[in-house]
């Protein structure tokens, strides 16, 4: 992986360790849920692993379903990575993703547009809507010094209610369903097999991961974004316009999430469905971005892993295990990743 293979390979140790520990610890919850005795720990662990592996890998169908879940996680994870690298916490990925869905769903209803152009237009709509939703907190932070997290939380709600308005009350709303009208067939991404919702957006996401990698580690812009994230004062003294880069990072991040949203409409949902609460694409991608240690290439693998966990939740329920175990596993992973980050931080402070 480029210039720092050795250190990056080393930095994979902690995440892998945390995944293993998370699985071992989650087996305890399986025991609890199934009222097993302590001596049955290993059968609980086997049951847990069994469900995860069978549900993800036993048939091509199932693996495709994993990838369906992984795709939006990957888009959102990449969006988070851009901002984390710039020292920002873009909790607005959720709203940016929703705005991308809104843009995609609206453009998708245009009639008489040839397929390639139509999908390109939807992607563009995703970029614009998501980017705009990143620009708002960015420009407010740059010009007024507001905290991007607070603004993003608000813009998330605005995005959700805009989406609901369009799905329920606007001229685009389909009164038969609690959703907007289905997008034109031309606007739908081709699926590989009729039995799975998997479509070519998964490849677009993987290509994007590579582009983000190039952007961050080989381009001038990425260098500036990373420099601002690691030491804004030094970056400023080194000729980097910190304000502009912060705004830009949020815009790029929003645009990536927006594309993810638009493609989610085009490939999976085909219409804007009203939301009772946040769909959690952006929020769930936070641990993805953290676990891959903000590395866009590793993000692909982590997104698939988390997609697999997500995909298992139904099976857990069938087996009589609360599906929230998926969140328990994620939480324990994050716990260890955070602990690793904190110890690194403390070590650094001790050296300084």
């Amino acid at each position: 992986m480029g210039r720092k293979t050795k250190t990056q390979a080393l930095s994979a140790v902690a995440p892998i360790f945390s995944i293993i520990v998370a699985l071992l610890a989650s087996a305890l919850f399986v025991m609890w849920a199934k009222s097993m005795s302590v001596s049955e720990y290993f059968s609980a662990l086997r049951l847990l692993l069994d469900i995860i592996i069978t549900e993800s890998l036993s048939t091509p169908q199932k693996f495709m379903e994993v990838l369906v879940y992984a795709t939006p996680l990957l888009f959102c994870g990449l969006a988070h990575i851009i901002c984390f690298r710039c020292g920002l916490f873009n909790i607005g990925v959720e709203g940016q993703f929703i705005m991308g869905m809104v843009g995609g769903a609206l453009i998708g209803q245009l009639q008489g547009v040839p397929m390639l152009l139509h999908i390109a237009l939807m992607v563009l709509a995703g970029i614009i809507c998501g980017g705009l939703w990143g620009f708002l907190p960015g420009i407010l932070k740059a010009k007024r010094g507001t905290n991007e997290v607070v603004v993003c939380i608000m813009t998330n709600f605005i995005a959700m209610y805009i989406s609901n308005y369009i799905a329920l009350r606007s001229v685009f709303a389909d009164s038969q369903h609690d959703s907007s009208y289905t997008i034109q067939p031309h606007a739908q991404l081709p699926r590989f097999v009729p039995t799975s919702r998997l479509n070519i957006s998964v490849f677009m996401a993987i290509i994007l991961a590579f582009c983000v990698y190039l952007l961050l580690f080989w381009s001038k812009r990425g260098f500036q974004i990373r420099a601002v994230g690691l030491n804004a004062s030094a970056a400023e003294a080194g000729g980097v316009n910190t304000t502009w880069n912060i705004v830009l990072a949020l815009v790029i991040s929003g645009a990536i999430a927006g594309v993810g949203g638009a493609l989610q409409i085009s490939g999976v949902q085909t219409r804007l469905i009203s939301m009772a609460s946040f769909p959690n694409y952006g929020f769930d991608a936070i641990p993805v971005a953290l676990l891959c240690n903000k590395n866009p290439l590793a993000c692909v693998l982590v997104a698939i892993l988390f997609g697999a966990l997500r995909n298992c939740s139904r099976m857990f329920q069938i087996e009589g295990i609360p599906k929230d175990i998926v969140y328990v596993i994620q939480a324990i992973i994050i716990f260890f990743v955070a602990a690793d980050l904190i110890t690194k931080h403390l070590n650094k402070r001790r050296r300084a």
């Binding site: 210039r3 720092k4 080989w218 381009s219 001038k220 812009r221 260098f223 500036q224 990373r226 420099a227 690691l230 030491n231 004062s233 030094a234 970056a235 400023e236 003294a237 080194g238 000729g239 980097v240 316009n241 650094k348 050296r351 300084a352």
Partner: protein, 506 residues
């Protein structure tokens, strides 16, 4: 006098690096003992072992003849050991008395007995002849006084052994004199003092005995009166080395930097730079001398486009750069060795190569179009590492893992390598050892010979005096006086630094 403290055969290794190897160190009752050595010689490690931050791998510590184990800093104070760190650890918006008693407050019942605290602090001040007002806030005190508060803290906790880490680094000449008197007084009261420093002249002035460390070993041990600077340098560096860099006579040319009536505010909104006027010519080293905190930092930030100029004008070769973007200012021909290395000069979590891109990335050959050229940056970085003898395993290592002195050498190397007309060198030798200091000075003089302007900003008078063609003394953000090399005199500058305009002057 008998031994207060003995450290016998102390060894300590970090991974493969032997920081201390069979070090013997004794401290007598009521003496001042200086520990000198270059950076990385093991002074700090030795003191951190004594202070309980590290455990020795081998060897024994005895206090008053009894062997002790010090596992953590809180235990060291129980043994009467206290340390004043280079960076003070005071709560800025508390008063002197509050800071002194913090952690061991006198109480009446459960309530803090502030009256008693003030009384105790006052009596301590009287005993040791400190001129401090216990009710003043720390943020209103000068650095010299803050240092006294730190010493008071230790005395309040009953320390018999006081470790002072680089105590003179931030002081003016007169404050240093005062510190000398305080140390004498401490000795009279039976306290033993350990000074950690790499400044030789002070060593001579205020100590009884000294121990020299080099590469983790004791290379010398003598009474101060028997020591000479030459001898000490030889013991520290391992070879005889002249400290002074020769500066040939040279005519200076047209103006490079011109500062006119500059006003810059500090972060609290006060005028930190207040109608500053001076200029730097080609082939001239101008030393900007002053006590830390008299507007130097704000001036440099304003010069580099990192802080807003309220009024006035800065120009480079006649071109106005006031309030321009930092990149435009770099492009106009200023290279800057920033005074706060970790804040402004390097990104610790980036490799040396990536740090080379800082300030350079916008232009060919460092980048082409939107892409960076890591190949070129790596090649240049490796060249800098060789030329400036930066000790690092490779150019791909994060700057964080380099020692402070090597980081500084790298920063100087990067800034000098960039084409420039004016070099701003702020504390260019902060934290570097004698050999590197001399090398950096040579590089600065070399730039002068090439007709570049050099603005040397330093709180170390020695450095200013040995390099500058002209010395501009700054006090409260304005010029307190300008002296030529011939007129320069330490006492005179020292008094100007404290605001005395009377003598010298323009």
């Amino acid at each position: 006098m008998d031994d207060k403290l003995e450290m016998i055969n102390i060894s300590k290794a970090f991974a493969s690096v032997k920081a201390n190897e069979a070090v013997n160190f004794t401290l007598m009752h009521g003496e001042t003992h200086v520990l000198i050595g270059e950076n990385g010689a093991g002074k700090t490690t030795l003191m951190n072992i004594l202070y309980g931050l590290y455990q020795q791998d081998n060897g024994e510590i005895r206090i008053d003849g009894k062997a002790v184990k010090i596992k953590r800093p809180s235990e060291s104070i129980a043994h009467g050991i206290g340390m004043v760190h280079q960076h003070f650890m005071l709560v800025e918006n508390l008063t002197v008395a509050e800071n002194v008693v913090l952690g061991q407050e006198p109480r009446r019942g459960v309530v803090l007995d502030m009256k008693k605290a003030v009384e105790t602090v006052e009596s301590l001040c009287k005993q040791y002849r400190f001129e401090l007002d216990p009710s003043q806030r720390i943020e209103d005190l000068s650095v010299g006084k803050q240092q006294k508060v730190e010493i008071l803290k230790l005395l309040y906790r009953g320390a018999d052994i006081l470790i002072l880490d680089e105590p003179t680094a931030v002081l003016t000449p007169s404050e240093i004199d005062e510190l000398g008197k305080i140390i004498r007084k401490l000795n009279e009261e039976g306290k033993s003092v350990i000074l950690i420093t790499h400044k030789l002249r002070e060593v001579m002035a205020m100590s009884d005995r000294l121990t020299v460390l080099r590469r983790g070993r004791v290379t010398g041990h003598m009474r101060t009166e028997d020591a000479t600077i030459e001898k000490l340098v030889e013991m520290m560096v391992g070879k005889a080395l002249s400290l002074e860099v020769e500066i040939p006579e040279q005519e200076c040319g047209e103006g490079v930097l011109e500062v006119q009536n500059l006003v810059v505010r500090d972060s609290r909104g006060h005028n930190a730079v207040n109608a500053l006027n001076f200029c730097v010519h080609r082939g001239e080293i101008v030393g900007l001398a002053g006590v830390d905190g008299n507007g130097q930092s704000e001036f440099i930030e304003a010069l580099m486009g990192l802080r807003k100029v309220q009024s006035g004008k800065i120009s480079i070769l006649g071109k106005d750069i006031t309030n321009k973007q930092n990149r435009a200012i770099i492009d106009a021909g200023i290279s800057c060795v920033a005074e706060d290395r970790h804040k402004r000069a390097v990104v610790l979590e980036m490799s040396l190569t990536e740090n080379t891109l800082l300030g350079n990335f916008a232009h060919e050959p460092f980048s082409r179009g939107i892409w960076l050229d890591y190949g070129y940056a790596t090649k240049l970085t490796e060249k800098l590492i060789n030329e400036f003898d930066v000790r690092t395993p490779s150019s791909e290592v994060n700057v964080m893992w380099l020692s402070g002195g090597n980081q500084q050498k790298y920063v100087v190397a990067r800034e000098i390598s960039r084409p420039h007309e004016l070099l701003v060198a702020a504390q260019p030798t902060r934290g570097v050892d004698i050999g590197a200091k001399r090398f950096i000075h040579e590089q600065i003089v070399k730039g002068r010979a090439q007709g570049k302007g050099v603005l040397l900003v330093s709180t170390e008078l020695d450095e200013i005096l040995s390099l500058s063609d002209r010395i501009v003394v700054i006090y409260k953000g304005a010029v307190a006086g300008v002296l030529t090399r011939a007129q320069a005199d330490e006492r005179l500058i020292g008094s100007m630094m404290l605001g005395d305009k009377a003598e010298g002057g323009k």
